[in-house]
């Protein structure tokens, strides 16, 4: 438990991805089974305990030091689990601290009545970091900035395997993943994936611009619309039916309507959309359905989910990934024609003669729910990862707005010490009749290193106020912001939120008073 606690502790303070990977890899290599497997389960969200209610933690704390001191402490620290971890003192007579395996295995067996006494014994035996980690584990919110995919990447790295290999076997395994570590670190056999709803690493496309197209032969390529939804994988194999995000996260629970509609055996690539009648709803509608553990009947009715299929990886027990795109496409079309299904349809191919023709089609397409074109070589097999050459995404030109920088914050990793995260705003009428800036978004990329140095200096020279790590700046610098969409938002003060905003240009030539208004942005809302 102590080693796991130190891992979580380090991860929680370490913002850089590569450093996080290094920490996890070191831990996995140095920690014996089954502890490292349980740790991996905790990091990938594969552990679920009945949990410790806040009231229990509070009562522990009040019993320990009295209500008054506990209240003062909690008030200062601001986090219940951390407060309890800090005020509790290690009892030198409590015996050795529990291992992570012991904690997990005991909690899985313990009844609700037994939990408090067990917990107290562990709190006595652990140090402050150990107690913090234990309580975080129990309350089910690690919050150390590690995604399941990052943890899997670390696993893949220790065994010098591509992450696709790990993802393929992942869903056939369960914590504490002994066969996985045997395979990666001890010459054990590769675990069979048995395809029981396993996730297959997807093939990704590289961005391309109009000018580069002329170096390619249009006859080699097929085009599809690039739908503005979420790339998903529908996996129905070995009797298991699952829906995965592009990153391999199992999102089945949030989309029971899709899962119920699966009456086939196969693995498909497609775009998850909300679709009403024949119309694809804006991305914002889909967002309502994401990140939910359960979904209400009302939500299912008002935001019906739909998958628009564009590739087939596996069909009726047969792996099709080595076939060419054209062959897979033929299989997909034949399969769909044999039995049309309610929540699935086919993403049509866009016919074109040459690049100029296709560019015209792309310009003419103003339909909501399309963010550009996908170009795929007809002879390309389905390759995991982002191979250079076979697949391209040709996105619609972004929307642009001139915004005014309002706040800046320091970045992380290579950019720490640089003011690289900018909050920008647009004008609106204030209640007193004057014009004021309302923040509309935040961006931290899109500029070159040289521009970053310039922006950093500008921020330092024009700071008017500081709030902790945030600097408020004179509202004078116009930033041209590029973004892929606008939606109304109740969470943002300005009432709008931008999709994927980035800094396109620094407009030192433009006075701030001529920047865009919030109303201008609202006009872009579909």
């Amino acid at each position: 438990m102590q080693a796991f606690a130190e891992l979580l502790d380090s991860l929680s303070f370490q913002p850089a991805r590569n450093a996080k990977l290094r920490l996890i890899e070191t831990y996995l290599r140095e920690t014996p089974d089954p502890d490292r497997g349980w740790a991996l389960a905790a990091l990938t969200g594969g552990l679920d305990f009945a949990g410790a209610k806040p009231a229990l933690l509070r009562s522990f704390g009040e019993d320990k030091i009295g209500a008054e001191l506990f209240h003062l402490s909690y008030d200062y620290v601001g986090d219940l689990a951390e407060t309890l971890a800090l005020i509790w003192e290690t009892d030198p007579n409590a015996g050795p601290p529990p291992s992570l395996g012991e904690v997990v295995e005991t909690l899985q067996r313990a009844t609700k009545m037994q939990t408090p006494a067990i917990l107290k014994r562990w709190l006595d035996a652990l140090d402050a970091t150990g107690r913090w980690a234990l309580l975080k584990l129990l309350t089910g919110a690690l919050r150390v900035g590690v995604s399941a995919r990052l943890a899997k990447q670390a696993v893949a790295n220790i065994g010098h395997q591509p992450i696709a290999e790990v993802e393929e076997v992942w869903h056939g395994l369960s914590p504490p993943y002994r066969p996985l570590f045997d395979w990666l670190l001890a010459d054990g056999p590769k675990p069979s994936s048995n395809m029981g709803g396993a996730f297959l690493s997807p093939m990704l496309a590289n961005p391309i611009e109009r000018a580069e197209l002329d170096t390619l032969d249009p006859a080699h390529f097929r085009a599809e619309w690039k739908w503005d939804g979420i790339r998903v994988q529908v996996a129905s194999t070995g009797g298991a039916r699952r829906l995965y995000s592009r990153a391999g996260e199992d999102v089945s629970a949030a989309f029971p309507d899709i899962i119920e509609a699966i009456d086939f055996d196969g693995v498909f690539d497609g775009e998850l959309l909300v679709r009403r009648e024949e119309t694809v709803a804006p991305f914002n509608d889909l967002q309502q359905r994401l990140n939910r553990k359960t979904v209400t009947p009302k939500m299912l009715k008002e935001h019906p989910a739909h998958v628009r299929l564009y590739d087939v990886l596996w069909l009726d027990g047969q792996d099709l990934r080595t076939l060419s795109f054209d062959e897979r496409r033929a299989r997909l079309e034949a399969w769909m024609a044999a039995k049309p299904r309610q929540r699935f349809d086919l993403s049509p191919l866009v016919r074109f003669t040459d690049w100029a023709h296709l560019a015209g089609l792309r310009e003419g397409m103003r339909e909501e729910g399309i963010e550009g074109l996908m170009l795929k070589r007809g002879d390309s097999p389905y390759l995991a990862g982002r191979p250079k050459g076979p697949w391209f995404k040709w996105k619609r030109d972004p929307m642009l707005a001139d915004c005014v920088m309002m706040y800046a914050q320091r970045g992380h990793g290579k950019r720490s010490s640089f003011y690289s995260d900018y909050t920008f705003g647009c004008w609106r009428d204030a209640s007193d009749g004057t014009r004021e800036l309302a923040p509309v978004g935040k961006a931290y990329f899109g500029f070159t290193d040289e521009e970053l140095r310039w922006l950093d200096k500008w921020v330092r020279d024009h700071t008017t106020n500081r709030f902790g790590p945030v600097r408020e700046v004179e509202p004078r610098l116009v930033l041209e912001v590029a973004f892929d969409g606008v939606a109304r938002s109740t969470r943002h003060k300005s009432g709008v939120s931008l999709r994927f905003p980035r800094i396109n240009r620094i407009r030192t030539d433009k006075p701030a008073t001529e920047a865009d208004t919030v109303d201008n942005l609202l006009r872009l809302v579909p």
Binding site: Q14, R22, L69, L72
Partner: protein, 345 residues
């Protein structure tokens, strides 16, 4: 020193030692203790900026503290300096004054004041754990103990120094190519961290930001050995890969730090015990190393000095007052001006 028989019967201690807008004032001796502004006569407990200020006409302190003040305030030619060694006593007006080790930094002292058979101890800042750069805190039995309260909450239990230094050395193993940039306060923390690293067996060169140079030299003059230390500014073509560089906390976020290769910002301070505080300071490797007493040390000290009255200054007074009262001590908060919340912790 006077009798240990405690005398609270007739004399109200607040009648001869009390806070004023200029600082804590001792009336029968006509001097201030760690005043916030320049005064005719001051007794200084230690050299940190919120206790030792320039411009006093007379300043009384330990020889080490006076040396620190001279280093910080351009030799203080206009201040008449009076050195009082640990354990020696001196009559100032009607008051018998002496200085006793506080264990906080080099030269740090508690001011022990006696008047009409009553003894008040002003702790200044103190800690109880061993520090190779100064003699340990000596508890002095007294009628009134005036204690600091920087870390006076039960959430502050500073872990062992060796364990925290171990965290730094382990990080160097995990990231052997990265520069470990450790934010330390120039006076006290810097020198203690160097000594702790040496005690842990780290014998490579330790690099210093220029702002740390003069006080390290002063410590060396007082016989404290740091091993191989060198200034970053003197290094030519040094990559600093995998090295430890000490700097003032503010330098980590400064453009100064850009010369280093992929640095890990660490910070050595008692505040690092609370995660939100560590994050606010931008620490990726927080080291809980403090020159102040933690909750256990504070409460133990109240028991050790056995004072029936305790006055609590600068910090989280409320919790310590509450605790002291719960064990039968007459406690109250003493609001002093000019103490910095948490800069020199």
């Amino acid at each position: 020193m006077a009798t240990d028989t405690l005398n609270l019967g007739s004399l109200n201690p607040r009648s001869w030692l009390y806070p004023t807008p200029r600082g804590l004032y001792c009336a029968p001796g006509d001097f201030y203790i760690d005043p916030a502004v320049a005064v005719p006569r001051a007794v200084i407990t230690h050299g940190h900026g919120d206790h030792a200020r320039p411009g006093h006409r007379n300043a009384l302190a330990t020889p080490e503290t006076l040396a620190i003040m001279r280093a910080r305030f351009q030799d203080m030619p206009d201040t008449q300096q009076q050195a009082l060694k640990y354990g020696e006593s001196l009559r100032i007006g009607e008051v018998e004054a002496s200085l006793v080790p506080a264990g906080h930094i080099l030269g740090s002292a508690q001011a022990v004041l006696e008047y009409k058979g009553q003894r008040i101890v002003v702790s200044g800042d103190f800690k109880r754990r061993p520090d190779p750069t100064c003699p340990p805190f000596e508890p002095v039995p007294c009628d009134v103990f005036i204690t600091e309260a920087t870390f006076a909450l039960p959430v502050f239990h500073h872990p062992s120094d060796a364990g925290e230094i171990g965290k730094l050395l382990r990080s160097l193993q995990t990231f052997p190519e990265r520069t470990h940039l450790v934010g330390v306060y120039a006076l006290g923390k810097c020198q203690r961290v160097i000594k702790l690293l040496r005690a842990a067996g780290y014998d490579k060169r330790i690099w210093l930001h220029g702002g740390l140079a003069s006080l390290c030299a002063l410590y060396q003059k007082h016989g404290i050995d740091f091993g191989d230390i060198a200034l970053v500014s003197d290094a030519v073509l040094e990559t600093f890969k995998g090295s430890i560089v000490l700097c003032p906390p503010s330098a980590i976020a400064d453009r100064w730090s850009r010369r280093f290769f992929d640095p890990i910002p660490a910070m050595a301070s008692g505040w690092m015990g609370v995660r939100a505080r560590a994050r606010q300071r931008g620490a990726e490797l927080p080291l809980i190393i403090s020159d102040h007493a933690d909750w256990t040390e504070l409460t133990q000290t109240l028991k050790d000095v056995g004072a029936p009255k305790v006055w609590v200054t600068h910090g989280r007074e409320e919790a310590l007052v509450h605790y002291a009262r719960s064990i039968g001590i007459e406690a109250e908060a003493l609001h002093l001006v000019g103490r910095e919340e948490e800069n020199e912790a």
